[in-house]
Assembly symmetry: C2
Homo-oligomer: 458 residues x 2
């Protein structure tokens, strides 16, 4: 029999607690608190109470290293978790590289990505708190799909503001959400102050995650029976995603190897943090100092590679607390590249801090090099990846090529955050040479950051 290529866990191996990186991160760096946008003082939990249930607010500020996963959440996780870890031997052979490439396949979830890991948890805690409806934003539609499913499971209504560029590119995503009973509205919409303001200035706006977040928050803040749910960036979201990395650790043990480098794509940062943080803890503790972490992002929205580390709003309208993060400015509207889930102006604060402190590397790729890697992955492993995940594949492929050129072995762990079944238009554009090579203009950074409040950053 050939080398083993799949590493499955049993039901019993499903993690029963989420890993909170904050205690270990605080041991090596100084995490900054979110600030109240009016007072510029650290926020108190009550500011978040109109948007989130208490359980999630407590997770957002928790300093406990482990947080138990509630039984009803585990019961739903078992619909598809643990997810498989594969070794991509056919990709390795095509690259003729002395690399072992493992990928954790989160595209096996019913919604097609890692997003249900937190959607299920958020829906559960909100239901427990007596909430009737959740409002949210979605870019590519992965998050909206996951929350729609989660709300159906926990008998909540779901209102999704979908970035208009994706709404028009991806009608199948809209229908998927509607199949689970969600209401899907293209953003910017004329149903909120935030949306109307954008439309007045830019009637043809294709939208952005930042705008959609503003709309979803506005609705939640104005309606006592409605809470807001976010798909990335915040601490509790990253926390819930750590089931990915906790499973992957056990699976890498099965494989008898430890990764030299852990690669993922970053929009807000949740899928990559979910994979990376359980491994990162060892690095922060000095146990695995040489393990590398590589965050990949689109050249059209290069927050980690060209953004500034600064306090900024999480949304376009400036409704959220100020977060300490790499940002291109909350007014920045990225070009409508196909990786809609990576079109976000900022990044998770903890992940930003890890990059700033040198624990994590970052690299940006243009669309055509990303889809070239995606096609190679499909042609060798059979799986057509989501455009977002294809950034991580590009990173892994480049790592393998570097290993070949250096004549050294390398173990690469890759986060495959989702499948591309709803992204075929992007592949059609790639195959027919219709993908523009959009790159970020440094001038955009300067312009939008002038709008940032003047807050000193450590």
């Amino acid at each position: 029999m050939a080398d083993r290529t799949r590493f499955d866990l049993q039901d019993d191996d499903l993690p029963t607690a989420w890993l909170n990186i904050m205690p270990d991160l605080a041991g090596v760096a100084q995490p900054l608190p979110p600030l109240h946008p009016g007072t510029l003082q650290p926020i108190t939990p009550d500011l978040l109470a109109p948007l989130f249930p208490e359980a999630l607010i407590l997770q957002e500020v928790s300093t406990e290293p482990w947080i138990d996963i509630p039984g009803p959440v585990l019961d739903v996780y078992r619909l598809w978790r643990p997810t498989p870890l594969y070794r991509a031997t056919r990709l390795e052979a095509a690259l003729q590289a002395p690399a072992h490439i493992y990928f954790k396949h989160e595209g096996t979830s019913p919604a097609g990505s890692h997003k249900p890991n937190t959607a299920i948890a958020q829906a559960y805690y909100n239901k427990e708190a007596g909430v009737r409806r959740l409002s949210t934003e979605t870019g590519a539609g992965q998050w909206g799909s996951a929350l729609s499913m989660a709300c159906e499971f926990f008998d909540l209504e779901c209102l999704v503001y979908m970035v208009r560029a994706s709404f028009e590119q991806k009608p199948y995503r809209r229908i998927f959400m509607e199949t689970f009973g969600a209401t899907v509205v293209p953003s910017p919409s004329d149903g909120t102050d935030a949306g109307r303001k954008i439309l007045a200035e830019h009637p043809d706006s294709t939208g952005s995650l930042g705008i959609a977040i503003s709309e979803a928050i506005e609705v939640a803040a104005a309606n006592p029976d409605t809470n807001y749910s976010i798909g990335s960036c915040l601490g509790h979201v990253l926390l819930h995603q750590t089931v990915i990395g906790l499973e992957a650790q056990k699976q890498m043990e099965q494989a008898g190897e430890a990764p030299d480098v852990v690669v993922g794509c970053v929009g807000g940062g949740s899928n990559y943090a979910g994979l990376a943080y359980p491994f990162m803890v060892g690095k922060l503790r000095g146990e695995t100092p040489d393990m590398r972490f590589l965050a990949t992002e689109p050249a059209a929205c290069p927050t980690l590679t060209k953004g500034r580390f600064a306090y900024d709003f999480g949304d376009t309208a400036g409704l959220t607390p100020l977060l300490p993060m790499y940002t291109l400015g909350h007014g920045f509207v990225p070009a409508p590249v196909h990786a809609g889930g990576l079109r976000y102006h900022g990044d998770a604060p903890s992940l930003s801090l890890l990059v700033k402190e040198g624990y994590m590397e970052a690299v940006a790729y243009t669309q055509n090099e990303v889809f070239e890697a995606a096609r190679l992955f499909a042609h060798t492993q059979g799986i057509v990846p989501a455009p977002e995940s294809a950034h991580a594949i590009r990173g892994a492929v480049n790592e393998a090529i570097a290993a070949r050129e250096a004549g050294e072995e390398r173990v690469i762990l890759l986060g495959l955050s989702g499948h591309g079944n709803f992204d075929m238009q992007a592949y059609d554009d790639y195959l027919n040479d219709r993908l523009p090579e959009v790159e970020f203009d440094d001038q955009d950074l300067t312009l939008s950051l002038t709008e940032l409040p003047e807050v000193p950053v450590g």
Copy 2:
């Protein structure tokens, strides 16, 4: 911990041989041979040589009970096999039925269905025989997607005639195939005699599997470097699919239960045969006489429930040998219902014989009752099924309801042949009450069967 809901196999549990039902079927019934369309005599293997490699022709007529799976085919199977078996406890709870519903999830393959099980094998044997290109038909696109991927893996060109109704409903399926390098042509086309003949009579023809098969066969017959590849109906196709049932048997053993009824959907019959035949062998041998087998099909194309058991062509133009099967007549063009993979005028001869001899039951459903079951499945289990697979779900749901009404426990094994990610237009139509309740008109049967050659049937 709750009841176990997932039953995974390890790499070592992957079947290493396919199960051939013909020896056992011959023990209880009299399988009829395919006939030469000219002489009406049993065909000899040389008639098939222009279309298929020798290895597959030998499998088509084999009387061996087991046929070894070649190593290179196993290596590719390992990209996604063994597939998971789940118990649908949330669906059971919603139905408040004393039933245990298990489903074998073939939608976890890279192409999204069971089809790669035979596509990989067919591509391998053709490559070994020195073939340069494969031509084929596809209805919903599941089969074309699988063969496109298989051809890429084994370095073959792939030419797909896609039923025009699906070509227009499902552009994402076309792009998926093109991503793997296939050439996709809407059928009927003006590139073949068979296509031109149809277009001359029906310029607006939405096509059918039968027409697309004619076109693909014509091209293969006319080009020495091109073979034909078929996605269902023939014996070697059903043979390759038995990995589904062989795995499911081991998984049901893990669960500690045996099915009372095995349910699947039938177009040509390959996915259902693949699941059912390993269990059926026990019934044919008298070991499990009470195990029931339920084949489900669309009311718009009710071959098993309203067709006649007769010799008929496998394609519309009459290029294939005559097959003994349930048929609506090879000239029948089903209404363009969304379950494109079930729009076929005939059925696999072995499966037809099992129905005729009473070993297998059959039932037909209309579109809305099928999608109602699909939505219930999505709302409880999270998975949005393919419209074809939704027929099987309807069957399983009805079995569970019958068990509840009878006040008896029932173990139901359901074949989930594929996911519905490429079928969202169908869900949009269902959610917006745009699905016509198309039913078969008995007059169509009479009319089209008058064209059949007069051949006595046993």
